[in-house]
Symmetry: C2
Subunit: 499 residues, 2 copies
């Protein structure tokens, strides 16, 4: 007779079939669907999401989880059972009416935000946003209450949805060090580099850029028999076993941003493709958390693609497919692609400024969810922190200030820190893996990256969710996430221009 | 309190959400999916198909259908309830083990057929095919037994899955008239036209052909805010409300076939788009049957696109996008596109020969399912009928004979007649609608087709499944499907070359 654990495995495999459908319906919606399909697609996605929630929160699942907790399981099965429990618990701990209310408020707020951002209308936004904040606080308290002892603050319970297993205390400490040391470093870099990092201008046909992205992906290990590259307004990656879908976006007056996005999403896809077959369709077999996911995408984008030796290797391909770039040397392109210029917009930020944008958001959302500040306080705090961290003002400029991001509009509090935890992790992993390969620059200079993929496969990809992100960092690099490596890397890349 | 009928509506709407997911997962599989995705996609589709079957055959549905039969319903609701019953009955009347066994046998047979066709291996095919025939006969008997009185023969029960509402007796009578009158007409046409219908050769870039197809679709009423054109090995159309997806296929040495396929699939999409909103997601709101569906696609392809005045109107667009075609006049292109040349392959057949290919298959599959012939008899019958109807031999040439089609490999008996019933219906509808528009050729010559769309909308599209196909034909043309119109049209187009 099938054990409780075996029955859980069967149930989670069934759930993964619905997830497959949802994944590709979402992909289609963002990449292929004509506008006329919105209504029927929204209805189908809502129905499948409801079915998924019902199947996951079926009382029998809780019973099986209890029963499996008493079963004699292998170490691996125990972890697998715990991951199933976490997945179930996340879905089951909220009352249905809270989920519906938040979903509705988020939808109203996000919809309104699209025009309010354009119109710099903070007051209009605030009306809707207050409801999102209220419901997110309720959600945070409910999640905290459901797992007594797991979360030190309500915010930690939301953080756990994205930066799973990380605590806001650890992230605060990590970010405090960055916050102190990064701004002077940034000023030093801007002063040192001056105007040598001019924009790479020209006209770059999109069909040529597509070929270029495809070539880059192939070098970065992407297998086109197991995936696709397409276009969307915002680059993203998704997929299922054997079918990784990534997107990028092209502009005819620009070619580096599309390649960066391609490299970034190829990193996400590499991680997903490298997850172990043996755990496929089970929670233990999914990516560890977003801090690790972003470490892979950023490592591919920043540490591989933008490494001087790799970019020099790739420049002849750029020159050949986009002949107009021939007036730029490999050095010009590297400088253009690693331009450092503090600005107001997070998604346009360079690698050095980016963490400061994230820290600002982390501090505000943490205090907002924990109730020490209110939604109405955000613009003043934003302006104050932008001045302190980046030396820029956003007073009355909500559009380029606190209205610039979509994340908070739908109540995704706890997501932002993953970007910078990912950046720190990516550098720390890269520092470790290149330490064992003293001639790594020679490999990069010939496009040989197998040693990177192999190291990442062993230390990151193959572990999936079988350990926490900090455990994976400690096992693979000898210590937990430590911003020292990132700060050292920034000096080497942007001041010494070593790689 | 919701009535039984209301509850059924709610259940069928829920089923339509799963159908939406299945529709677009299938589309993706045929148009977008890389080969690596096969396994996870097959698993997801199987799971959703099972869920759909379970929800449709849930005992509560039968109870609600019974209860609704006793309810006081409007005329329209009564028809709607009957269509729900038919849908439920089709799914519920077969034992699960028969469905699984046929699905497995079909999958084995179809998979083997791909190589057996190439290798001309009838004996190898027959081994697998016998099982498909046995299980299809069992299925036919089970379907017949489930609705006593509805089906005169077991074959009629399978026919009803595709040519819903048609009887094999009516189709036999219709086809007998064609079988008698078409072969001499075909010989006369071939003799009269001789070599004037040479092939339209050249090199035609695919990106230009795509633009051409897009322009044709727009003239044929396709709305790109509510649909897409893509490519696939076999052109097809699918979709859901507000999102019609069609495909075509291009070859660089050919441009007419892609346009024909585009026009054909645009006809299917026009019908689907024209189905009434008020019945959306309900069985009454779906397309009537495949005989009507094919009438729309063939009317768009043969009677509109290939009409001399329309093609003459469109030729300047062809000349402009494919300059190499400028050496062909509108008349050359029309002759090339309406070439008549009897051959062995159904899917390559011209409009005049095509029905003879279908009649041959109809007669064989009817007798096969009704048990008056056996699978082993097929090659000899094929050869005999090919000689009688088309004057061609297929002895020992299984590849270009009875192994050429996919339909029987997966047990889709009853599908073939829909192609020719569709062709007859298409011509009959066109004859009627142009009778009311004596100057139709002038409209076609300027690309004005609104009167066609409007007529079809009123008489066909808006009726969906609210009446049988023969009722719709009788209401719109004054009589049931009558091959006289097709025979007359063939004379006018191919002998008199009137349009």
């Amino acid at each position: 007779m099938a054990s409780a654990y075996d029955k859980l495995v069967e149930r989670f495999i069934q759930l993964s079939r619905l997830e497959h459908a949802l994944t590709f319906l979402h992909w289609d919606q963002l990449v292929m669907m004509p506008p006329g399909g919105r209504k029927s697609r929204a209805e189908a996605i809502a129905a499948l999401t409801t079915a998924h929630h019902q199947q996951l929160t079926d009382p029998a699942v809780e019973g099986l989880l209890d029963e499996a907790a008493g079963q004699s399981l292998s170490h691996e099965q125990n972890i697998s059972r715990d991951e199933m429990f976490k997945t179930w618990q996340r879905a089951a701990c909220l009352p249905d009416d809270l989920v519906s209310a938040k979903s509705l408020a988020a939808s109203v707020c996000e919809h309104g935000w699209r025009a309010q951002r354009t119109n710099n209308d903070w007051a209009g936004f605030l009306t809707n946003f207050k409801e999102v904040v209220n419901l997110s606080r309720t959600e945070a308290h409910a999640r905290q209450a459901a797992q007594p002892g797991r979360y030190a603050t309500p915010y930690d319970a939301l953080l756990d949805l994205f930066c799973t297993g990380e605590s806001s205390e650890f992230i605060s400490a990590t970010f405090n060090e960055l916050k102190e040391k990064l701004p002077p470093l940034l000023s030093e870099i801007v002063a040192a580099r001056g105007d040598q990092t001019a924009k790479l201008a020209g006209f770059f046909p999109i069909d040529r850029q597509k070929k270029l992205s495809t070539k880059l992906m192939t070098i970065l290990g992407f297998d086109f028999t197991g995936g696709r590259l397409d276009e969307s307004n915002h680059p993203f990656s998704t997929g299922d076993r054997g079918d990784q879908r990534i997107t990028t976006r092209y502009r005819t007056d620009e070619f580096i941003d599309a390649l960066k996005a391609t490299a970034h999403e190829t990193g996400h896809a590499g991680y997903e493709k490298g997850l172990p077959q043996k755990w496929s369709s089970l929670p233990i077999g999914t990516a560890c958390n977003i801090c690790i996911h972003e470490s892979q995408s950023l490592l591919f984008e920043k540490q591989i693609f933008l490494a001087k030796p790799f970019l020099s290797f790739f420049v002849p391909t750029i020159h050949s497919l986009l002949p107009e770039t021939k007036r730029y040397s490999a050095d010009d392109i590297w400088h253009g692609a690693t331009r450092v210029a503090p600005g107001l917009i997070r998604i346009e930020a360079d690698e050095v400024s980016y963490p400061l944008h994230v820290i600002l958001r982390f501090e505000i959302e943490r205090d907002l969810i924990n109730g020490t500040i209110e939604a109405a306080d955000i613009p003043a705090l934003w302006d104050e922190k932008m001045q302190a961290y980046l030396g820029l003002r956003t007073e009355n400029d909500y559009r380029n200030g606190c209205l610039q991001d979509i994340h908070w509009t739908d109540g995704s509090f706890g997501y932002f820190p993953a970007y910078t935890m990912g950046a720190l992790n990516g550098v720390q992993l890269f520092t470790t893996l290149t330490r064992d390969q003293p001639h790594w620059q020679n490999h990069f200079a010939t496009g040989e990256l197998d040693f990177v993929f192999s190291w990442l496969h062993t230390h990151i990809w193959s572990r999936a969710s079988s350990a926490s992100s900090q455990q994976i960092m400690a096992d693979s690099t000898g210590e937990q996430t430590n911003p020292t490596h990132f700060l050292e890397y920034v000096k080497q890349r942007y001041i010494d221009e070593k790689f």
